[in-house]
């Protein structure tokens, strides 16, 4: 492969890359465009790309039929709450694993990650019973805990890999200078760990936001997040594509916007730290 990049070649690659990018993005783009069409225009053949009468009608109808803000608020609380709780629990654990590793650290990590591979249905019913017992069914608090638990292994693993990149010599140097444990944590570790923590937070937020298996099964009305909102539009509205698109757009918009403004963290987070 000729790595000596000629300008022509570079332009060609860029064009190809963007063609692929556009192809992948197209279904999302099409959904967003369709949400502004009337139902008739949405199913027009040949399809109308841009020259239709832009309308906000679908959004008004969707909002009227189901209270979007309530679902959105639930999603924010569930994703935000479980992420915050997870980080609070995971940071000390990952910190100790990265800086004071014992013989078992690798085993524990691997074992924890393997729980992520287990099918969730295996623990669905016990958790369901526990929820009934504790009165947590259809409550935000219960779901925050469950979502935190299922993503915890990933949070710990990611934080661990980020923390390990922090050179231990810096800590030794700080200790030489007589830094206390508190100072060490506050002035040295935290600033160096922030990029890693930010990516982890974003990843976990997105995972929790999209989690459908648990949210669909453990909520009914009160705690139902956007996944439930969008699922409720799936079957009975099967043929109302413009409204379905409006609902989909409303459900994905927060993630698309959040991702757009934090591209570096998004790439780092979604690839689980594989892309620096």
């Amino acid at each position: 492969m000729a790595r000596a990049v000629t300008t022509k070649r570079k332009t060609l690659t860029t064009a190809l890359a963007w063609a692929i990018g556009l192809l992948i993005f197209f279904p999302i783009l099409w959904t967003i465009l369709t949400s502004f069409k009337t139902e008739a225009q949405a199913i027009a053949n040949p399809p109308i790309f841009l020259n239709f009468d832009w309308t906000l009608e679908n959004y008004a109808i969707v909002q009227e039929r189901s209270d979007y803000m309530r679902f959105l608020w639930n999603s924010v609380i569930l994703a935000g709450g479980s992420t915050l709780l997870g980080i609070i629990i995971a940071v000390p654990a990952a910190w100790s694993m990265a800086f004071v590793p014992s013989k078992r650290t690798k085993d524990i990590l691997l074992w924890m990650l393997s729980t992520k591979m287990l099918p969730a249905v295996g623990v669905l019913y016990p958790i369901y019973l526990l929820f009934i017992e504790l009165g947590l069914l259809d409550s935000r608090a219960g779901l925050v805990i469950v979502l935190m638990l299922i993503n915890l292994p990933i949070i710990v693993w990611m934080l661990y890999t980020y923390f390990r990149e922090i050179p231990g010599e810096i800590l030794e140097a700080a200790r030489m200078d007589g830094a206390t444990l508190k100072e060490e944590l506050l002035y040295i570790l935290t600033p160096m760990a922030i990029p890693g923590i930010a990516s982890t937070v974003l990843l976990n937020f997105i995972l929790a936001w999209n989690e459908a298996f648990w949210t669909l099964n453990l909520t009914a009305v009160d705690a139902a997040p956007l996944t439930a909102f969008i699922a409720s539009y799936s079957s009975p509205e099967g043929l109302f594509f413009a409204k379905l698109s409006a609902a989909s757009t409303m459900a994905i918009a927060p993630i698309l916007i959040l991702g757009w403004f934090s591209q570096k963290q998004l790439v780092r987070g979604l690839t689980f730290g594989a892309v620096k």
Binding site: S96, P126, R175, V267
Partner: protein, 305 residues
Amino acid sequence: MSSAEHAPAGPDKRPIRLFRNLWSKIAAIPMILVSVGIFVGGTIWTIVYSFTDSGLLPRLNWVGLEQYERLWSTRRWLVSIENLAVFGIASLILTFALGFLLAALLDRKIRFEDTFRTILLYPFALSFIVTGLVWQWILNPEFGVQSIVRGLGFESFTFDPLYDSSKVMIGLLIAGLWQGTGLIMVILLAGLRGIDEDIWKASRVDGIPAWKTYVVIIIPMLKPVFITALVLVTSGIVKLYDLVVAMTSGGPGISSEVPAKFVYDTLFTRQNLGQGFAASTMMLVTVAIILIPWALLQFRGKKND
């Protein structure tokens, strides 16, 4: 990943180290307890009750392996297993083949690269529910791809996988690939970028063809990256549930049922707990069979470092 003994180990630091170790253990304990309690406890509970005749409510009436015998003679379960196997193998092969091909093709600096990567990752950032709905529509024979191609004059063009029980898994596969390929490609691309320029130069000097350089040198070098990607893809496959619920609800008929959905329906809709527990135990066993050799391999690799 090489060993990471960052901890200072001077003899004069002994007491401090002990103290730090103690704190670090205290820090790690809540998390480990929680994981043990929920995952192991819940899983054991499920396995135990799979040997009972629990119906609507969990009861400890032992029936031995009866639930398992019944499970394996249920057609819907067999279809589910087969579907998951087909989907799993096909999506593993295709995601990696496509992802690697695209990554190798684009192994150069691209303008606006961050934006490009973000766009490729967008599908992965969406809920399976949304993916399912969007693709259900694209693959709808009356409004989606089929009708558009027919509109262009190809009257006999047929592509309606979601309404054809022999092709419905292809429809699910397309949506799954759309969601996952970008992720794998971005990860592999990052791996390829990390490879030293000199390796390419050397192989060119020696006159080794590019494809051979990839197979013999580059891919083995990317092993850690491939493992990360593999873990991500596999855990996605095991979870296959939301996509099916949103796209086909298991239909037409039972042709796109998957194990997770079988378990869920058996537990909550058909209220046959014992049967559902037996099915989820089978899923656990299957995952364990795949996971244990991999874990052992990992451990042995680490010990050799």
